[in-house]
């Protein structure tokens, strides 16, 4: 099967999400930087990832971990300089690793010169770059996202004596996308980075760009107009570059962000992720198959982006109240693990550090339709620290080895940007890259193998999916097809061994070739195909007619 055209590289990508600050500190100041990240590219190449998604690295007061940007066209001095970024970019290119950067379109920091100018006077030329109001009653009823910290979407500005609109923290005023000058300036920002050579943008918080009275101020048609305009300019000027949407919405609402293939290339499938965790705990495929049934078809060049964990809390916005309660009880019994409407934990602790469950979840992540994202450190089973505030507990330094500062930095431990994980289970002496590289059966080695198998066939990135519904509901089975190629995936969501009978009559006469060991399984005959699976076991079978 031929690879996708180069312009569709994102469909076959395996993305690694990292904050530059967390990867490697090259200058001993306790904070990771671009020169350090560049030094770790060989590790990422060997892991098998094909793209890096960098979280915000721009100048910022860092009151929201860089999502409060005060300068869009520079690099925060903590992480190096623009030249350092260019060095990193070249190093990534030389290893055929694409680079996706983050762009926070919706809002800036209140320290951004644009906002400072805007608030300085109602007559300021940039006054209309933000959403101002004399009252805090406009857009009444619009939901508050950061429930734990914000009381309103309006904040009073004592300098200009008016309210400004903010969907996130009050120190992050929303830009006014009804103003053409704002749209033009944000395109200039994108152009700046595209000209340097970045391959795409993950656009943060896109549903909230435009506000209208009497609406939820989310997913408005006017927002889609803004996105279409950006996409058109991107295609005209930088073909082959990619836009990835962060829109934490239901699948039906998410669908609109693909437009007719003229908005985003990719969008995160937010509702799927919590349901994977739910299905695992329930030992029942229902949450997954239901959300797959509700997932609409998307234009051919588009792709879902799938993830198990990321830098934010495991968001439970896109679940029902009953499901949310269940998830809290099962995955966040300690209230300290909860934040906003979510659970601030890493993959391994969520799964009780159970290697079988970690493998199964990754197996599903890499075999369901979409481009998978690995959150840094999850490939070795890093832990978290719920005693760090906000979402910082899942943003601790990468654990490279069992030595000084986990091999992350030569600085004094006290000066690290965040404390290392030290406990006996997840501490850096127990969980680190160096030790896992030494053995063949570590999680890291297994992840490498998983990526190899995933990349052995484009069927995983571009194939269709068809769910099977065996009577045994603890087994999630689906068929992926691309051209003449077919792959059968069977997952046991249960902690106990299972037998399952699959209706494979459509494929009668084919033999099954298990893709990890390449062993042959019996030919499909007249009867339902009987498989037995150990606890949390999964199979990927290539179907072959021989």
């Amino acid at each position: 099967m031929a690879s996708a055209p180069t312009s569709l590289w994102y469909k076959e990508a395996v993305i690694y999400q990292v904050h530059v600050r967390a990867m490697y500190d090259s200058n001993g100041d306790g904070i990771g930087d671009f020169r350090g990240l560049a030094q770790k590219l060989d590790y990422l190449r060997d892991l098998g990832i094909t793209a890096i998604w960098l979280m915000p690295f721009f100048p910022s007061p860092l009151r929201d971990d860089g999502y409060d940007i005060s300068d869009y066209t520079s690099v925060h001095p903590n992480y190096g300089s623009l030249d350092d970024f260019k060095v990193f970019l070249d190093a990534a290119r030389s290893r055929s690793i694409r680079v996706i950067i983050e762009l926070v379109l919706n809002h800036t920091s209140d320290q951004h010169p644009w906002f400072q100018e805007s608030r300085s006077s109602v007559d300021s030329p940039r006054r209309d770059w933000y959403v101002w109001s004399d009252t805090d009653t406009r857009y009444r009823g619009v939901r508050i996202i950061f429930l734990d910290t914000e009381m309103s979407n309006w904040a009073w500005d004592p300098i200009s004596k008016a309210y400004y609109w903010h969907r996130f923290f009050s120190h992050q005023p929303d830009l006014n996308y009804d103003n053409p000058a704002v749209r033009e300036e944000m395109w200039n920002v994108m152009k700046f980075w595209l000209q340097l050579g970045v391959d795409g943008f993950r656009l943060d918080a896109v549903p909230y760009l435009v506000e209208r009275e009497g609406t939820s101020c989310e997913n408005l048609p006017e927002t889609h107009v803004v996105i279409k305009e950006l996409r058109q300019r991107l295609d005209e000027n930088f073909p082959g570059r990619m836009l990835l949407a962060e829109a934490n919405q239901w699948p039906a609402d998410l669908r609109a962000y693909f437009g007719n293939g003229d908005e985003f290339h990719m969008a995160f499938h937010f509702p799927l992720m919590p349901r994977m965790f739910m299905a695992l705990k329930l030992e029942d495929r229902k949450p997954i198959t239901e959300i797959l049934q509700q997932t609409p078809a998307i234009p051919d060049p588009c792709q879902w982006c799938l993830f198990l964990r990321n830098h934010d809390e495991l968001t439970l916005e896109m679940v029902t109240d009953m499901e949310r309660d269940y998830m809290y009880d099962e995955y966040a019994h300690d209230k300290g693990m909860r934040l906003n409407l979510g659970i601030r934990r890493r993959l391994a602790p969520l799964l009780d550090n159970d290697r079988r469950r970690i493998e199964l979840m990754n197996g599903m992540l890499f075999s369901l339709p979409g481009t998978p994202v690995i959150y840094y450190g999850d490939e070795i089973g890093m832990g978290d620290n719920i005693f760090l505030g906000d979402r910082n507990g899942v943003r601790t330094p990468m654990q490279w080895d069992g030595g000084w500062n986990a091999g992350f930095s030569a600085a004094d431990p006290e000066s690290l940007y965040a404390a290392l994980i030290l406990n006996p289970v997840y501490g850096y002496q127990a969980v680190n890259v160096a030790s896992q590289k030494r053995l063949q059966h570590t999680l890291l080695s297994w992840m490498r193998r998983l990526l190899q198998v995933r990349k052995s066939s484009p069927i995983f990135s571009r194939g269709s999916i068809e769910s099977l519904y065996p009577a045994n509901h603890r087994v999630l089975a689906y068929v992926r097809k691309l051209g003449s190629e077919t792959v059968l995936i069977v997952n046991n969501l249960s902690a106990s061994a299972q037998a399952v009978e699959l209706d494979l009559s459509e494929f009668k006469g084919n033999i099954l070739v298990e893709m990890f060991g390449r062993n042959i399984f019996p030919r499909i005959g007249e009867l339902p195909y009987l498989l037995t699976l150990g606890p949390y076991q999964f199979y990927w079978f290539r179907l072959r007619r021989i």
Binding site: E283, Q293, Y326, A471, H473
Partner: protein
């Protein structure tokens, strides 16, 4: 261990798909298409409401329905294939159905439910009668919660009944079980009840399934087994129950389903009850007893005649069952006309106890013993009806309580009869 013969291959395949269950609800049907759809909907609603996170299965055991009963049960399943609107469930809710080849038998059906519960390792089970038109979603909570969450082993129902409904229960089963086993089980032959995995383990290999008593009256055997096992028992008030819907109009058939299993169970559990001489209270929710005051429509004269002629016609049979003294008293009562009729509690209790002892000793064919009780019960029913025709609810309750105390006071007499070397004295 489950009896492999009792489960068909098809059912085993379905159970394999269910896997392990937290809760299993068994429904025995035979041509119940008129009511089963609505009943299963309510059961499902109750399970989703009160046990939304648990692994739940509804097992319909059907005695060969020809009216589509089993299809209606299966249609209530909630899976990832079928749209479950308006219900929402976190996980799959299995509704499975199986048919057995024998003639319809409550015992056979219940044995299958118990075997399935054993295989599924269900922590709490409930049996629901298919014709329970009064069932409410909260019955699931009342029957299952005490077992699943509070570690009881057996949940017996209390129904609100009309004052003369279930007289066999109020005049024999309830007071006798209370006296013999020391626990006041209001409904010894329940249409609905709950039981634990521990009770399943006790019952799965029990001989009751191979006996007529167990085949015909498994509910009574089940109840008595729980009593004899010293299981933790809870009584729950379910609300009104229709007119003896599970009790056939044929009195002999009713006796075979109630008294025979009781006598049989007493026979096999003697060691557990012979020393009991106090009555414990049982933990419960809701009222212990509730009666309605609907008017009664019974042909009292015919009831009296059937009693009088029965005593005469069965004189030879009764001689081998009853003591000379008791028979003589009975014959005196039978000779009384309706105006002067008196059938004391004490005489009735002695009759019942002597029947139980004779059943134990198998003085004649056991089924003949059970049949012979029919006319004597009619006499008791006649007396009860005439004495309580104008009684208030409180008076009625007091009369039943007095009868219970008579059963308890005369328990030594039961033991005396039970241990006597030969029948008659």
């Amino acid at each position: 261990m489950a009896d492999e013969d009792i489960l068909s291959d098809d059912l085993l395949r379905q159970l394999m798909s269910v896997g392990e269950a937290d809760i299993l609800v068994g429904i025995h049907t035979h041509n119940n298409a008129k009511t089963i759809g609505q009943l299963v909907q309510i059961v499902r609603e109750g399970l989703l409401k009160y046990f939304p996170r648990e692994r739940v299965a509804i097992l319909n055991v059907d005695g060969g329905s020809q009216d589509g009963t089993t299809d209606l049960v299966r249609a209530a399943a909630i899976s990832d294939v079928r749209d479950a609107t308006p219900f929402y469930a976190l996980r799959t809710l299995h509704c499975i159905s199986t048919k057995y080849n024998d003639v319809p038998s409550a015992g056979r059906a219940m044995h299958i439910v118990v075997a399935a519960a054993d295989l599924l390792r269900a922590k709490a089970c409930a049996i629901v009668a298919p014709e329970s038109s009064e069932i409410q979603p909260d019955w699931m909570n009342r029957l299952l919660r005490p077992i699943y969450r509070e570690h009881f082993d057996f949940v017996a129902p209390v129904y609100g009944r009309q004052r003369f409904d279930g007289m066999l229960v109020t005049n024999l089963m309830y007071p006798m079980i209370r006296a013999v086993y020391g626990k006041p089980i209001r409904e010894p032959r329940p249409g609905e009840f709950g039981f634990s995995d521990r009770l399943v383990s006790e019952l799965i290999g029990h001989e009751l399934w191979t006996q007529d008593a167990g085949r015909i009256g498994p509910e009574v055997c089940f109840t008595v087994s729980a009593l004899a096992d010293d299981a933790r028992i809870f009584q729950t008030f379910l609300g009104p129950k229709g007119h003896v819907d599970h009790q056939p109009a044929d009195l002999v058939a009713a006796l075979r389903q109630t008294v025979a299993p009781l006598f049989w169970s007493m026979d096999s559990t003697y060691a557990s009850w012979n020393a009991i001489n106090v009555v414990q209270t049982l933990p419960s929710d809701g009222p212990e007893y509730e009666v309605g005051m609907d008017p009664v429509h019974v042909d009292l004269t015919r009831l009296h005649q059937m009693f009088a002629s029965g005593v005469v016609d069965l004189q030879d049979v009764l001689k081998s069952i009853l003591s000379t003294s008791t028979l003589a008293q009975l014959q005196s009562v039978a000779a009384l006309d309706e105006t002067n009729f008196q059938y004391s509690d004490e005489l009735w209790v002695k009759v019942v106890y002597e029947f139980a002892a004779s059943y134990h000793r198998s003085v004649i064919n056991r089924d003949h013993i059970v049949q012979a009780l029919a006319p004597l019960y009619r006499g008791r029913a006649y007396a009860f009806l005439t004495e309580n025709l104008n009684a208030s609810k409180d008076d009625l309750a007091e009369h039943i309580e007095a009868l219970c105390r008579t059963f308890e006071r005369l328990k030594p007499y039961l033991l005396e009869c039970w241990t006597a070397q030969e029948g008659g004295s």
